[in-house]
């Protein structure tokens, strides 16, 4: 019984950094990534409005389906892939353990 999960951030091809995230604080993945020193602006503070916390899920457990709000925002971004998510909309729960992701490049 543990209250944390491990997610892996692919910082460069073949180079993954482990990030340990608590599951008992109701955090979003965006908050965890920001707190781990990643350069995420998250201008809107987590309301799926700015698209600056865009990540791509590369491997790992299946996540809950994105909401319409999130999909709408993702769809409007210049770059989007199959694994695109807004990290502010992904809750850190025990189901996230083993997730592999990368930060998507920011557009101006």
């Amino acid at each position: 019984m543990t209250d944390e999960v491990r997610v892996y951030v692919e910082e460069a091809p073949g180079h993954r950094r482990e990030v340990i995230a608590p599951t008992d604080m109701g955090l979003s993945l965006m908050e965890v990534l920001k707190a781990s020193g990643y350069d995420i602006q998250a201008t809107c503070g987590g309301m799926a409005l700015c698209g600056t916390c865009h990540i791509e899920v590369l491997a790992g457990p299946a996540l809950d389906e994105p909401s319409d709000e999130e999909l709408y925002m993702l769809e409007s971004l210049p770059v989007m892939s199959q694994g695109s998510r807004l990290s502010c909309q992904v809750r850190v729960t025990s189901r996230l353990d083993g997730l592999v992701l990368r930060l998507m490049p920011q557009q101006a």
Partner: protein, 337 residues
Amino acid sequence: MNSISTDICIIGAGPVGLFAVFEAGLLKLRCHVVDALPQVGGQLSEIYPKKPIYDIPGFPEVLAGDLVSNLMRQIEPFHPTFTLGERVERFAKLEDGSFQLFTTDGTEILCKAIAIAGGLGSFEPRKPAIENLENYESGKGVYYMVRDPETFRDKRLVIAGGGDSALDWTIFLADVAKEVTLVHRGTTFRGAADSAEKVKNLHDAGKVRLVLSSNVTHVHGPEQLEAVTITPNSGEPETLHVDSFIPLFGLTPKLGPIGEWGLELEDDAVKVNTVDYSTSEPGIYAIGDINTYPGKLKLILCGFHEAALMCQGAFKYINPDKKYVLKYTTVNGVPTL
């Protein structure tokens, strides 16, 4: 020209900007509030008026919209004035240390101090990452929004994007421009279903060209835009001669013109001194989500505190010779100006 004279000009009519009117009023300072949005309340009114907020002291739960109405009631005795639907563009500092501000619509505001309470900033078009794209801005062929459709009459256009505005402008400009090509990264559109249907029909009728599963990857031209390269997710890129390229990828909050004012910035926020939330320019203050300092928390309640301290600083800036005495509203009763 519309000209307004006040003590403090507050840029941003969100909760923090509104509460600053109250704190300024206690010090007998008059305020004028400017906001780019057509209504007061900032994000609270624009984005989440029906969402409950739980961390306003004294309110176990309050709807964002109600908090804004209450703030408006609270500042009413101080008779603030408003310019809504206009964005402050630039400022000039006058010899006596006061300021002159100008909005997009030509309103002039004369004030003794400025409080920037701009929140997320203003919503600006998102620009795709295409090399040299910025070289073709300002009338050289790349447009991030359609201000006047006549600009595109009888022109050859490429529009990029998959949202409502890309679909709507494709439909509208099909009748105005000489050629319209819509490039969309995906194969489906999340915009309004009937708009997507209309675009498909226009494509079938040969009125617009729809290029799916593709991106605009390069822009060309010595001075003026002459061509763009469209690269499909799989297959050979194609270069198309065009007069204009219109990427429509939605809006994202940006610092906006305030970012060009020469104030010290950090991570797209205005750096302040937490003694009085003053910026690097004497007489200009920044409060709420738009500022940054060690330990900054983007909370409404922190913005309220910042507003109170900011007004102290502004009072001293405006009245260097007067001594300020802290007054309690419990002692002095309903405050007025």
